[in-house]
């Protein structure tokens, strides 16, 4: 999985951190202090389509080139999250109770082409 850089427009993970103080939510969310809202962006050329996590080895790259040469552009490939992780959150509910919960699949860890 790639992290986005200025050198490439291939499918990659873009990192962005939302600080709860900036949006005025730090009064009811106790922990964490912010949310890492990563997202996937970039192009998915045919030779990397269907390989979440991108070409991981020489053999995968060759396989994908063969696939790209044989399969005509019949559909679209999208840059999507391929791995996510949960977010634990501690907050006040509307009755001022302190609630701790784990929200699955909240943080995008890796991106790949569908």
């Amino acid at each position: 999985s790639l992290r986005c850089s200025h050198n490439s427009n291939l499918c990659c993970r873009k990192d962005y951190y939302v600080d709860f103080r900036d949006i005025g939510w730090n009064d009811w969310i106790i922990k964490p202090e912010g949310y890492q809202i990563n997202y996937c962006v970039g192009q998915c050329p045919l030779h990397v389509a269907g390989s979440p996590g991108m070409a991981s080895s020489f053999h995968t790259a060759v396989f994908n080139l063969v696939k790209a040469n044989n399969v005509q552009a019949s559909g679209h490939s999208c840059c999507v999250p391929t791995r996510r992780r949960p977010l634990s959150i501690l907050y006040f509910d509307r009755n001022s109770n302190i609630v701790k919960t784990d929200i699955p699949d909240m943080i995008v860890d890796a991106c790949g082409c569908s």
Binding site: N26, I30, F92, R94, I98
Partner: protein
């Protein structure tokens, strides 16, 4: 208009903030953010939670609650798992870069949900170098435990002192490997079957005091 190249533009930032708000409210099943009638000071909440967690019985003699609260905190990290071979299960822990303070680890415990399939299972825990066994990295044996079927369920394994050196370094990724003489696929199936059985590590840490330098003239 010149701007910081790594900062998202204003409209993009606002969009991302709105997406973050919407996502959090949806997942917490809230229509709107809770409005608190009386603002609770963050320090008071943190103190109350630490007191609740520590409990009166765990306080060591001679250390007041207030002092103890200021001394340390707890990191809980959930593992990403991978089965490198039928008998080896890799556990990868990522620590936030925000925790780049100079910290000292006081206690570390690995929690695993185990269902022992046969009469017994001998489990060995290793601290693996970056890249794990696949990369031919070195491994340090942290402990070995023989488990019987009666011991199925959540089990904790103390890990100190070996990971201490890890927390002293720059790396924010810790890899442990579980190995058994038999097949670990049953254990892995348990781990993967439910998020509520995800292995986790609890580390009690303390922020290191800055060293006092004495100048001599």
């Amino acid at each position: 208009e010149p701007r910081c190249p790594s900062c998202p533009a204003g409209s993009e930032r606002r969009l991302l903030e709105e997406v973050a708000k919407k996502q959090l409210l949806e997942k917490l099943r809230l229509r709107d953010r809770p409005r608190l009638a009386h603002a609770v000071p963050r320090a008071a909440v943190a103190r109350a939670l630490r007191r609740l967690q520590a409990g009166g019985a765990h306080r060591s003699a001679g250390v007041s609650g207030e002092e103890e609260e200021e001394q340390g905190y707890e990191i809980i990290s959930f593992a990403e798992t991978d089965l490198t071979s039928p008998s080896t299960l890799g556990l990868q822990f990522q620590f936030s870069q925000a925790q780049d303070q100079d910290i000292r680890i006081l206690q570390a415990q690995l929690w695993l949900y185990l269902r022992v399939p046969r009469a017994s299972l001998t489990l060995r825990i290793f601290l693996a170098a970056e890249g794990g066994a696949e990369a031919g990295g070195n491994r340090t044996l942290l402990g070995e435990r023989r488990l019987s079927t009666a011991g199925s369920g959540w089990r904790s394994f103390p890990l100190l002192p070996a990971p201490r050196s890890f927390f002293g370094g720059q790396s924010r990724s810790l890899r442990l490997e579980l190995e058994s003489r038999g097949d670990l696929r049953d254990v892995t199936a348990q781990v993967n079957a439910s998020r509520s059985h995800q292995p986790f590590l609890v580390a009690k840490v303390k922020v290191k005091e800055p060293e006092h330098h004495v100048a001599k003239r």
